[in-house]
């Protein structure tokens, strides 16, 4: 089976099957990341734009890098841009985004407390908690030192603790 890095290399020379396979592999992780980051708003548009940016940049992909780190970097940059836009309305759970969670109230609570975190802390928590990325990989994605990842994660944990305590 071809590695992610081989597949993105083939996307760089116009292979549609390679793109379809990458989309299949990363559909859920990427969609979940974007949904949790934006609180469920504009997820499909951001998802599509992430892939389009990946296809555009594929010819310049450095094969010594991990594809997942590279793709999340694109997604994080898109989310940053998205958060700079003025919010259209207060965050509400999107009923169209059906979750497989057994407890819908837990899902909404998790999403609500995540959206209450500052964007930088939320990004770190999502990458470390939900996507199992290491401190080093998270630092590479965010383009910051490992210490910053650590301190943001500590801050996110403390803030979440406060939120849970007040819930």
């Amino acid at each position: 089976m071809a590695s992610d890095e081989e597949l993105i290399g083939r996307v760089g020379v116009g292979d549609q099957d390679a793109l379809a396979e990458l989309c299949r592999r990363y559909e859920k992780p990427l969609f979940h990341f974007l949904a949790r980051h934006t609180g469920g708003r504009d997820v499909e548009d951001l998802y599509q734009e992430t892939w389009l940016r990946a296809v555009r940049a594929a010819p310049r992909f450095d094969p010594s890098r991990r594809f997942s780190t590279w793709m999340f970097q694109i997604a994080v940059n898109l989310c940053r841009d998205w958060h700079r836009r003025p919010p259209p309305e207060p965050v509400e759970a999107d009923p169209n985004l059906a979750s497989t969670s057994a407890a819908p109230e837990a899902r909404i609570d998790a999403r609500r407390i995540l959206t209450a975190l500052p964007e930088a802390q939320r990004t770190v928590l999502l990458l470390r908690h939900y996507h199992g990325l290491s401190e080093e990989e998270t630092a590479e994605i965010l383009g910051c030192p490992r210490g910053t990842v650590k301190s943001r994660l500590h801050a996110a944990r403390e803030r979440l603790g406060q939120l849970m305590g007040s819930a």
């Binding site: 996307v11 499909e44 998802y47 892939w51 389009l52 979750s99 969670s101 837990a106 899902r107 650590k150």
Partner: protein, 163 residues
């Protein structure tokens, strides 16, 4: 010494190792917050994430099709340009000799015509001839990269079919 911040974060992420767990048993602060960290981790884990709509993947592939086509064109160019450069270099090599020969030919024709025809008519005929030569040379050299790229692509396709 184990840092309480690191231990509590490790508990939240489910990454607590033996050292961290030993620390929790001996540290009052971490012990007090341990249950809260587990509850928080469970709360976060309960959100398994939304299901992507089935129409999303085809939509992305359709939107990416023009970009993939552009990537393919650029990749083809990256493969063929050395062949084009070689062909152009080979074609440009005899150009100075061709130009010297053409200039000499035009001069000879002008001298010959000047002997039998009026000056103005000779000049008119020679300028026409020179213009025709310039046009033919331009067309020839313009066709070299086009034909070389086409031939390189055909060879590449042939290689892929046989490979």
């Amino acid at each position: 010494m184990t840092d309480c911040q690191d231990v509590l974060t490790a508990l939240l992420l489910g990454e607590a190792d033996t050292t961290a767990l030993v620390h929790v048993r001996t540290c009052a602060r971490c012990r007090a917050e341990e249950a809260a960290m587990h509850a928080l981790a469970a709360q976060l884990a309960a959100d398994t994430g939304p299901t992507p709509p089935p129409s999303l993947a085809p939509r992305v592939l359709a939107a990416a099709a023009p970009l993939l086509a552009r990537n393919a064109r650029r990749a083809a160019w990256r493969t063929t340009w050395p062949a084009v450069a070689r062909a152009l270099a080979a074609a440009l090599l005899p150009l100075p000799a061709i130009l010297v020969f053409d200039v000499a030919l035009v001069r000879a024709i002008y001298a010959l015509l000047g002997a039998v025809l009026p000056h103005g008519l000779s000049l008119y005929l020679v300028v026409n001839h020179a213009a025709l030569l310039v046009l033919l040379l331009s067309l020839t050299y313009g066709a070299v990269p086009v034909l070389a790229a086409r031939q390189a692509r055909l060879l590449l396709q042939d290689g892929h079919h046989h490979g």
